[in-house]
């Protein structure tokens, strides 16, 4: 017994090693045929809950850090999507503009096909910037058959409405004097009552034209909203082109004629396309 104790104390390291290896080997030998064994199951039962808790904790922290990453990713996606939304908004605006332009051009095409006059369609490319003068430039000139004094009309409220006349022409452009300019005079008449007068502009600030020299006896036969058209009498403008509607009637006692304020059918502030009539070719 004493010898055995001395042997153990002398070879403690080796004995422990052999014992541990033996235990392991026996364990493997007895359990290698089966994954489940009673001894392993006991150990597993004890430590599985610890392992499960550890996994839960890991899952929590993993989710937490994943959430941070997710938040960063979502923010990046949000910024990308925001940019895309802005792009789409721009596209939407462009589409709306195109739709509006398309509708407008369709109306103009329809008008162009229906109007009895030979004409050239033109787009306004420049407008007079100041308040003293009113006028605009179109993108058609003598190359397209446009001459000075050619009447200019536009499609407004379903009518061929008078815009003005061409006052200056180059090969590719022309200047148009609108009827609202103070230096523009047009022979006009009431469409229903047929009373005649002389029409001139009051400037772009008012956007109105004034019809003078209308006989006083016409006062009872003229109503607000009555249409005014071109008379065609010794004029560069064809007969019965629509000009505007009566907006006000003035009949001073000291004058022998009426003065009518006419609101043009054409909205000059929004005018984009016009037609130049080729009257001389008619």
């Amino acid at each position: 017994m004493e010898g055995l104790r001395r042997f153990f104390s002398r070879h403690r390291n080796g004995v422990v090693f052999v014992v541990l290896i033996t235990i392991s080997t026996v364990a493997i030998g007895t359990q290698s045929q089966s994954v489940n064994s009673a001894s392993k199951h006991i150990g597993y039962s004890i430590f599985a809950s610890v392992q499960s808790s550890a996994a839960e904790v890991e899952h929590f922290f993993s989710n937490f850090f994943n959430s941070i990453g997710e938040l960063r990713r979502i923010r990046q996606e949000y910024e990308v999507l925001q940019e895309r939304v802005n792009e789409y908004k721009t596209i939407e605006r462009n589409i709306l503009d195109l739709q509006s332009e398309n509708t407008q051009l369709r109306e103009l095409l329809d008008f162009s096909q229906k109007t009895p006059f030979s004409h050239v369609a033109a787009r306004i490319i420049a407008k007079e910037p100041g308040l003293l003068f009113d006028g605009f430039t179109i993108n058609r000139g003598s190359k397209q058959g446009i001459a000075e004094d050619a009447p200019v009309i536009a499609y407004a409220e379903g009518f061929s409405s008078l815009v003005g006349k061409v006052v200056e022409v180059t090969d590719t452009t022309a200047k148009v004097l609108p009827i609202i300019d103070r230096s523009c005079f047009v022979a006009a008449k009431m469409r229903e009552s047929r009373y005649e007068g002389l029409l001139h502009g009051l400037g772009a600030a008012d956007g109105l034209v004034e019809m003078t020299y209308v006989k006083k006896r016409a006062k009872n036969r003229i109503q607000f909203g009555d249409l005014v058209v071109t008379s065609g009498f010794r004029s560069i403008y064809p007969k019965d082109l629509y000009i505007g509607r009566v907006d006000a009637i003035r009949a001073p006692e000291w004058e022998s004629s009426l003065t009518l304020e006419i609101r043009p059918l054409v909205d000059f502030t929004r005018l984009e396309y016009v037609f130049i009539l080729l009257v001389e070719n008619e």
């Binding site: 390291n13 090693f17 235990i23 994954v35 392992q51």
Partner: protein
């Protein structure tokens, strides 16, 4: 040379064995996972010596056997051998920051493979081919890469030092 408290090392190693299959599962390359318990055991055995090395190895292996699919005794036998062999290096080698940890890791992995192969031939003949798979090479590479970092981490927590040399 100052004696380390083996209980601390044992607890760390057992906790690592406990967490290895649940927490560190996401650290893998082609489903091959590094054996952190093995790497820790190598350095701990080197710090503690053969007796403590093989005992903590046995306990950690037992934990892994109970929680894993391996038969009871499989890891405990292998880690006992590892703990014993690397415990023999205590005080006999200067562990630098890079080379020796890498050599330790590669040597330990090769010993594990060899021991597993022997055990598989004797007790688990169906698994012999699994021991000799390409995954072994990946694991050797992973251990070689991770070993310096783990050693550096252990030094930070004063669980390992590189000056544990013994004048023979």
């Amino acid at each position: 040379m100052r004696k380390k408290n083996p209980i601390i090392y044992a607890v760390i190693l057992i906790v690592c064995a406990l967490l290895q299959n649940s927490v560190f599962t996401s650290l893998n390359i082609a489903e091959i996972r590094p054996d952190f318990t093995l790497l820790l055991l190598v350095f701990f055995a080197h710090q503690l010596g053969t007796m403590e090395g093989k005992i903590i190895g046995f306990l950690a292996g037992l934990m892994m056997d109970m929680l894993g699919m391996a038969p009871l005794g499989f890891h405990s036998l292998i880690y006992t051998v590892i703990g014993h062999l690397f415990g023999l290096t205590r005080g006999k080698m200067y562990v630098d920051s890079l080379t020796i940890p890498v050599i330790f890791a590669i040597a330990a992995t090769l010993i594990v493979i060899f021991t597993s192969f022997i055990i598989a031939i004797i007790f688990l003949p169906l698994r012999v081919s699994s021991v000799l798979s390409i995954g072994v090479l990946i694991q050797i590479g992973m251990h070689a890469v991770l070993a310096p970092f783990i050693f550096a981490l252990l030094r930070v927590f004063k669980l390992c030092s590189e000056h544990e040399t013994q004048m023979l």
